[in-house]
Symmetry: C2
Subunit: 188 residues, 2 copies
Amino acid sequence: MALEHAILVSLLEKPGSGYELARRFERSIGYFWTATHQQIYRVLKRMETDGWVAAREVPQQGRPDKKEYSVADLGQAALSSWLHEPIEPESVRHDLAVKIRGAAFDDPAALVREVERHRQVHTDRLAHYLAGEERDFPGEYPAGAGVEPDAERELQHVVLRGGIAYERMMIAWLDDVLTTLRRFGPGR
Amino acid sequence: MALEHAILVSLLEKPGSGYELARRFERSIGYFWTATHQQIYRVLKRMETDGWVAAREVPQQGRPDKKEYSVADLGQAALSSWLHEPIEPESVRHDLAVKIRGAAFDDPAALVREVERHRQVHTDRLAHYLAGEERDFPGEYPAGAGVEPDAERELQHVVLRGGIAYERMMIAWLDDVLTTLRRFGPGR
DNA sequence: CGTTGCTATGCAACTGGTTGCATAGCAGGA
DNA sequence: TCCTGCTATGCAACCAGTTGCATAGCAACG
């Protein structure tokens, strides 16, 4: 399980409340790890009792108070030991691939719309990533010349580049899928 | 949930026992949908009581008997209706991306080995896919000239091409990650 | 003043997936 | 003969993740 660790990383990058974390999981972090707010609150509570994070009541004006969490020493240690133990390359789950192979026993042409919809989602995500890269990492080259560069920033960037590469690959593949599907007439 | 549907597709491609399905989920299907044998047996039993699949006792020589499952009409209908309803583009979970961003708060250089290990796994999978493509789809071109081509075969191929594209993308990205990681010295 | 909507947190029930363990047939080698 | 190993199936307990619902503060709008 890596939700705890994803939360630790996010809180190290910037402390925040459960609510704020949930919002981050809808955006940047959410592109490689998803979690609902219920899950986050539950895990956060467990992490607090385990001493991984410390909570601080923050009164706010114009909105309800919040509990701002930050990483405690135990949490830092837990993250560190997790980083040092090997993990298995993630197991993939592609519903769409199941559908595509299943379409052979139904109506291949009927999948075209669905695949086009997915393609649109990936195109949107790519545009969103590229905008984020433009905004947060302008004028940076993969092989920058600076001595001892900023690790946090560079590593965020390389993860983002991974997202970009993934979306580009998906779009190209979905085009391949569409070409293939369109070779079959309607009906079975 | 798509495990039921993945099983239906697999059984339509070729009927088989729970054990055989479990083995398939370790290979071809397993590359876009994972499942353990326990999960498969449990779901298979439910599918049988729901009338989605039919079981047939097959006595074997030299090994225990097996229950061979094949898809029933209700299962075919269930698959068809699933194929026609839209699904959300899958939520990704990349432990490695969490680790990479987390490495900024620990020791970036210590991740090099782990990333190299992952790169090796993806290289192996790519080789495995390419060998399978060579074996099962020799001398085929993306835009084949045949009229009314074999849907099952072509759709299996396009899914395989997706796997190949994914592995190539991952290898290239992991190289990018390694280059980035190596710019940081050991220790924090 | 009531409604809508955003921030902020949480419980309870359920479903899907994992892990550990158990059983049994049979083959082949030590 | 016993042990290892592969085929084949399954139970029980647990853990992670989802869904539905509930509450509450406060702002802005009509």
